[in-house]
Amino acid sequence: MSEAREEFVSEAEDLLRETEDGLLDLQETLSKGCNPDVLNGVFRSIHTLKGLSGLFGQRGILDLSHAMETMLDELRLGQRELTEATIAFLLKNLDILKKLLGEIFKEGKELTSVDAALEEIGKFRDEGKGREKEVKNEPGCLTGIPEEITKVLSEYEEHRLRTALKKELCLVTVEAEFELVSFEEDLKGLIEKINQLGELIATIPKTLGVLPGRIGFDLLVALNTSLSKAKEALKLWSVNELVPSPPEPETTSSILPAVNIPTKPGEEIIQEPLLKSGSSTVRVDIGKIDAILDTVGELMLAKGAVSRIGAEISETFGFGPFSVDLQKVSRILEKRLEELQNQILEIRMVPVRQVFSRLNRVVRRYTRDKGKEIDLQLFGGETEVDKLMAEEIIDPLMHMMRNAIDHGIEPAEERLAAGKPVTGVITLKAFPKGNHVVFQLTDDGYGIQPEKVLAKAREKKLIAENQTLDHDGIVKLIFLPGFSTASSVNDVSGRGVGMDVVKEKVSSLGGFIDVETEPGCKTTFTVTIPITLAIIKAVLVSTAGETMAVPMASTSETLSIEPDMIQHIEGKEVIELRGKMLPIVRLAEMFWLYHDRPRERYFVVVVGFGGRRIGLLVDSLLGQQEIVVKPLGERLEKIKGISGAAEIGKYKVILVLDVESLMEEAMLSSQTIKADSDGLGA
């Protein structure tokens, strides 16, 4: 893809995301009145998209965004009323824009025609004509407002001013002056205060009467509170009344609920700032950050060599001033490199709110389609995760979400019969846990019925007829490939993928998935993924002459054992670890590596969490190292047990183990041991 097209797609994607977030926000808060700032934000995004697609010659996006912009312009200028139906209509057209953008990304050009959509917008606008709210440019409205203010207002700002006047709000200007070098921060602080008091209509920079090196502003504000309160809150600045409000300021505050909209309890509060900051951010291709990470990885190797040489020097020549100096320098190098690495990783971090807002959309649409009432509660949007991880985890979460709506939450009549409230509750919590991020998805629906799962698994011959499993073991059968409780394929969740695909995806990200259920009550899926995959700490092991890396995050301890400590239970190898049986997997056998002579001593790397643990048997431990994990590419990525490759030292490439899938293999084959000894407890 050409660089320009890539840039176009990337910027357009951002704009569509902003538009979507804005529209969803409007939808959510519509019952409390339309928030003009959010609406204006949506307008601005579509407006920018239009300009962008025009410059880039993307006719379809241009025409459609133009039509949407016209609609949004009417809405924000109050010429048309914002309704639930209008928002849904705009969201529908947003989908078409997304589709077009996808086509440009994949095929290099637009394929879908927008003619039908344009016609529909025309019709929609015609239908709404009767309900036009306000006649443009009502005369005589702006009395009392000085001309030096009115002449610089944009059409939109003027509309906000007229609306405020009509509502008989008290209008003031706040005069402020700041140092030119740092005014943005200070002004932002002031604007935050103003947002608590009313609506900021315009920010007008001024020259006259301002000292050199400083900058002055007149902020035009429609107050929601009384003048005296505003003066008290803004006592550092001068507040001048332009148009007084009539007495009884209390009643006016209830007329304009646009600012400080109270949110439902439990709902995530996403504060929409009144003004987007003139931020100093840059957009960077993640590939470029990866390239820096690679360089840092190589620097790490060089640093390793430096400290090794240092150690050799002191070994050969004893501790002289040089070797001490060298060690000191190498320690500083190590520390700085670590800092650098952390800083780079930080750049890649995004709040999971981005993931949430996309899920939110799906839930709204599906609930509408399915006629189920669902209250989606999102927590922990501020939790940060690597950008790539955020992208990768969306699909699994989306699938689980669809499952919850489709199979989890019961239809209204069944809920009522079961004594539950009609509205089903789906909660998604995100929180950091060490080097991991945990997503917990809970629905208060059917729960998973163990009998049904067991019957299905037997029917599909996924387990032996006579095999016995405990409750947890049964519930976990839903993760087996080929298992799907849905008897019909439908639009929502039955796209031929089941929880096994979700599990596989999570596992390929180096994560784990678990499920807990109370039949008839609720189901909770817990997905734990590493914060980043880019750089991980790993234990380097050697077996049959091959070096491999085991991610440290999934390693709990290492053991040194003698061959006679390995016991056999039903043909499986285990060792006893603190009174419990630990299944052993010989890495060399797992990967069909050449076996050399039996050794006097082996090492075991214990991997896994909680009760699900296995030991990887290797010839020797080579130490710990930070590695930059690279994907294996399409041809090799399906190989079970390997999640990627990493470079250690010059030109030496090693494989990075996928612990979750290794464990899966081992656990499946040791299912019977578990049932018999019950020593490991699932």
């Binding site: 840039e7 962008l52 002449k151």
Partner: protein, 124 residues
Amino acid sequence: MKSILIVEDSAMTRAMIRTALENIDDCEVEIIEVESGFEALRILPSREFRLILTDINMPDINGLELINFVKSNPTYRNIPLIIVTTECREEDRNRGMALGAFAYITKPFEPEALQKLVQKALEE
């Protein structure tokens, strides 16, 4: 070297304008891009700008407010301003012209048209 300031919140549009300006024959220009009105205010005193190209619809202060600021300041008032905006914002554009903008051009624009306009403005 003549310094030109581009005030525009879309990176793509900024790049398009920059390409057009860099390809003006026999004219060496230094192009400074900012993505918001606030940034424009801060960068204005940093050098002698010969021309400002500004969008109207921006997140912090709008282009009209910027034009007014430039035109009412004795230090900057001789800098010509060109409004770069979409065709449907006619009302805003007219207000900008009334505040003393030199010209306007609507998006999407032909590079040659912008180049001509810029050359004319620089000759002023």
